[in-house]
C-alpha cells in the first residue's frame, strides 16, 4: 500500500493514538521515512499533544480550592461543617497546593524501572501517545478507567513509557498484548 501526504495528514491523529491498522501503519511509516514534510508534521503534532497533555499546562488560580470548598460549605445542608469535614478540607487544600511542588520535583526524577513487566509492551506501537500518572506503574490509552492518580497525569510516547519502566495496562492495551 502506498499513501500520499494528504492521507498521512488525515490519519496522523489516529496514527498517534494507535488506531490505524497494521497495513496502514506500515504504509505511513514507509512514507514518513522518505518525506521530510510529513515527518515534520507528525513530530510537531506529537509534540503539541505531549505539551498540552502535561498537567502543568493548566494552573488553577491561587486559593481556588479554598474558595471552592467555602462555596460548597455555604451551600451544604445544615451549613455547618463537622470537625472531620474541616480536617478533610484542610488536607485537600494542602494536597492541592503541594501538588505543584510534588509534580515539579518528581516528574523528571523517575527511577529507571518501575516494573519487571514492561516487556509485554513490546507490541505497543512505539510512537503511540499514552497516559502515565505520577505514582502509577502502568501506561494507558486516554479514557481508560484504571488510570491512577488522575490529578497528576501526562502524555508521553509508548517507547518513552516503556523506557521509564511503565508496563502496558492489561485492560486498555489488551489488543497489543494479545496480538
Amino acid at each position: 500500500m502506498v499513501v500520499s501526504c494528504e492521507e498521512v495528514w488525515r490519519e496522523i491523529s489516529n496514527y498517534l493514538e494507535g488506531e490505524v491498522d497494521a497495513s496502514l501503519r506500515t504504509a505511513m511509516e514507509d512514507h514518513l521515512r522518505g518525506c521530510k514534510h510529513c515527518t515534520a508534521v507528525l513530530d510537531g503534532t506529537r509534540n503539541v499533544v505531549q505539551l498540552y497533555g502535561d498537567e502543568r499546562m493548566f494552573e488553577v488560580p491561587l486559593g481556588f480550592s479554598h474558595r471552592l470548598h467555602r462555596r460548597l460549605e455555604e451551600n451544604m445542608p445544615g451549613n455547618r461543617r463537622s470537625f472531620l469535614g474541616w480536617m478533610v478540607a484542610a488536607a485537600a487544600a494542602v494536597l492541592v497546593a503541594g501538588s505543584f511542588e510534588v509534580a515539579r520535583s518528581s516528574v523528571f526524577s523517575r527511577p529507571e524501572l518501575r516494573s519487571e513487566h514492561a516487556q509485554p509492551g513490546a507490541r505497543v506501537p512505539p510512537d503511540m501517545l499514552v497516559i502515565v500518572s505520577g505514582d502509577g506503574k502502568t501506561f494507558h490509552a486516554a479514557g481508560c478507567p484504571f488510570i491512577h492518580d488522575k490529578a497528576h497525569i501526562r502524555t508521553i510516547q509508548a517507547r518513552e513509557a516503556l523506557r521509564q519502566g511503565y508496563a502496558p495496562c492489561v485492560r486498555c492495551m489488551k489488543k497489543y498484548l494479545t496480538a
Binding site: E6, F58, V88, F146, H148
Partner: protein, 218 residues
Amino acid sequence: MPEEVTSLEPPAKPFNEEMLIQRIRNGEHDLFYELIRPYERRVYSAAFAILRNEADAEDVAQEAMLKAFKHIRQFRAEARFSTWLTQITINEARMWRRKEHANIMEPIVDRQDEEGNYTPRDFADWREIPLETLERKEVRQKLAEALASLGEKYRETFVLRDMQHLSIEETAKALGISTASVKTRLLRARLMLRDLLATGFGGSWSSKLFLAKGTKPW
C-alpha cells in the same frame, strides 16, 4: 515463582469513588470534598477552555461542583464520575457564556469547513520541545494563547481529549456530538495548534526572545 503479569495495578479508584458517592448519598456530605479533590483542576480547565477568562472559569467551576453535589443522586454508575462532572461543567460554561457574553463574536477559525481536509501550512522541522520548558511561564502563556485562538468547537474537543484525557467516546458524549466529529475536530485542532506554534517554536526554545513582544506568529 514469577509474579503474575495481569495484576499490576488493581482498579481501586473506580470502586473507591463508587463507595464515596454512596456514602455522600447517605448523608456524609463532607466526603464530597474528598470525591472532587482529584478533579478540581480538571473542572476549572474545562470551564476555562470555553470561557477563556479566569474569573468566569472559577465561578463556573464552583457552580458545576455545587450542581454535582446537589444532583449526586442522579449520577448513574455506568458513566465515570469524572465524565459526568465534565459534562456538567461544559453545560454550565455554555449557559454562562450565553447569559453573560451573548454578543461576543467567535474567532475566525470557527468558520472553517469542518468537512474539508486541513492542510498544514508550516513544514518547519521542530526539534523536540522538552516538557521542562513548561516551567517557563511565557511558554505556557504562548501555548494558552494559541489554544484560545482556536474556534470553540476545536478548543473544547482538544481540551477534553488531549488535556483532560477523556476517551473519544466520552468526549463525544460530553459535547453531544458523534465520535466521527470528535476525531475530525481533534485532528484539525492538533494540526492548527502545530501550525500556530511552529513559527515561534521552530528552534527558538532556548532563546529568551522566544516570541518578540507584541508580535504573533499566526
